[in-house]
Amino acid sequence: MDWTALGLSLRLALATVAILLPLAFLLARWLAYGRFKGRGFVEALVALPLILPPTVIGFYLLIAFSQQSPLGSFFQSLLGRPLAFSFEGLVLASVLVNLPFAVQPMQNALAAIPANLRDAARCCGLAPRSVVRRIELPLALPGIATAAVLTFAHTLGEFGVVLMVGGSIPGETRTIAIAIYDRVQAFDDHSAGVMALVLLVLSLVALGITNTLARRMARHD
């Protein structure tokens, strides 16, 4: 059992949720309530990581992370080391890959709030910010929680993108999914089995929570 790898995965998952959730909420709100041309296109962009092979995402990220690219050189000057093969690089990759897992549940939850409820709140004199705080956030809470749990669980399980942009550096980019792969190659089936079981249980718990929340959400309508 590689505890360092599990710890790293948990830290990565928490960082991803913390960074992604606020951004994704704004995006989800825009997609749920905004009336603009090209919404279908933006929705398709958000959903892309669901369809794209991790190698395609990994390939583009590697190019974006290289010291020749603006993003890569910016982080190089900020961190003093390259973005590729670093924990920070993994967080960035993970935020991107998890976009649909965070945006879609929140968008659905926000869209499910009856329009007349938001209108009524506004008629009663609630400021737009209060509408978000007192109507949208509480009613979309199951969606937000689902987004958090899905993002967390999916980050723990991410493999392909991490392998391509992270390598397998202990304590830096060797996540638990990569550690399992390494252990299998080292003929250490026992450790691989223990870690696989940990991921299996975590994923099951996450999906259990998500489903419970989804049922709560359905009861709203």
Binding site: G7, F85, L141, V149, F152, G167, E172, I209, R216
Partner: protein, 279 residues
């Protein structure tokens, strides 16, 4: 609480309970991980970071354990294919010591100014024909039985490392070409990302065998899983394995590099079937 908001708060309260449970579970996990982290020595991010060809897996694990006993320094190690590591180092991966299975990669990195010097030739690798227990294949140095089974169509799957970036894959391809088996075997090849994965494929029982590193075949894990025959080194270009200190190597990494050239390390390498170049 105002009358208006009451119908909204009940489902939200249940949701909150689920969230609290999730948070407790998450916190418990984090604490477990943090504790375990503190208990493990090789999580220290100042420990020398080593990238090593995967044929070294078992030998180097032993050497690093001895090094830790002798110096108290626990190295962080990643095993993989030498070509993949070379590309990662070119893209800025922060490794400090690189043990390549093919010296060409070290020379390329040196030409780009990424290494301290031209490094040190630490071993010459050999390949073996491996057949897992239960396979009809009987390994012999001339690969005669392999040729027979390829000709009769009995052989369904055969594992080697990917010749495009794994030195042992290249050596395997050269040996198969030298024996005139390459084109007949090609549709049946299973390619490992590195030679350790090839060894895993060759020994798992889903293939009839494979060409893998002698050093891996000599490990207890693989000895239990099948039989092998050493391929004559005249059948492939020598696997000249070179190691090097990369730019940015710390003093701890320098000590490890010295240790890798010391008699105890050489003795372990020899035990794992590596041919040692003269000092």
């Amino acid at each position: 609480m105002s009358h208006r908001s009451r119908p909204l708060t009940r489902p939200a309260a249940i949701t909150r309970r689920v969230l609290v449970i999730a948070a407790i579970l998450g916190a418990g996990l984090l604490i477990t991980a943090a504790r375990a982290r503190a208990a493990e020595p090789d999580t220290d991010s100042s420990a020398p970071l080593v990238a090593a060809a995967s044929d070294l897996k078992f030998a180097l694990d032993e050497i690093l354990a001895r090094f830790r006993d002798a110096t108290g320094i626990a190295a962080r190690i990643a095993y993989g294919s030498s070509g993949t590591f070379a590309r990662q180092i070119m893209r800025g991966a922060p490794y400090e010591v690189f043990l390549s299975a093919d010296e060409q990669f070290v020379h390329e990195l040196h030409a780009q100014g990424l290494t301290r010097d031209t490094g040190h030739l630490y071993a010459i690798g050999r390949i073996v024909l491996f057949a897992p227990t239960g396979s009809p294949l009987a390994p012999d140095p001339r690969m005669d039985d392999l040729a027979r089974r390829v000709a009769s169509g009995e052989l369904r799957r055969f594992a080697i490392a990917n010749p495009e970036h794994a030195p042992y894959g290249r050596a395997a391809e050269q040996a198969l070409r030298a024996r005139g088996l390459w084109s007949a075997l090609q549709p049946r090849l299973v390619l490992g990302e590195n030679v350790a994965q090839a060894a895993q494929f060759a020994s798992g029982g889903d293939t009839e065998g494979g060409l893998i590193a002698y050093s891996l075949a000599l490990s207890p894990e693989l000895r239990r899983r099948g039989t092998f025959a050493l391929i004559p080194d005249s059948m492939h270009a020598p696997l000249r394995q070179r190691m090097v200190l990369l730019q940015g190597a710390t003093p701890a990494a320098e000590r490890l590099y010295e240790y890798l050239r010391s008699p105890p390390s050489r003795e372990i390498l020899a035990r794992y079937g590596f041919v040692l170049p003269a000092e």
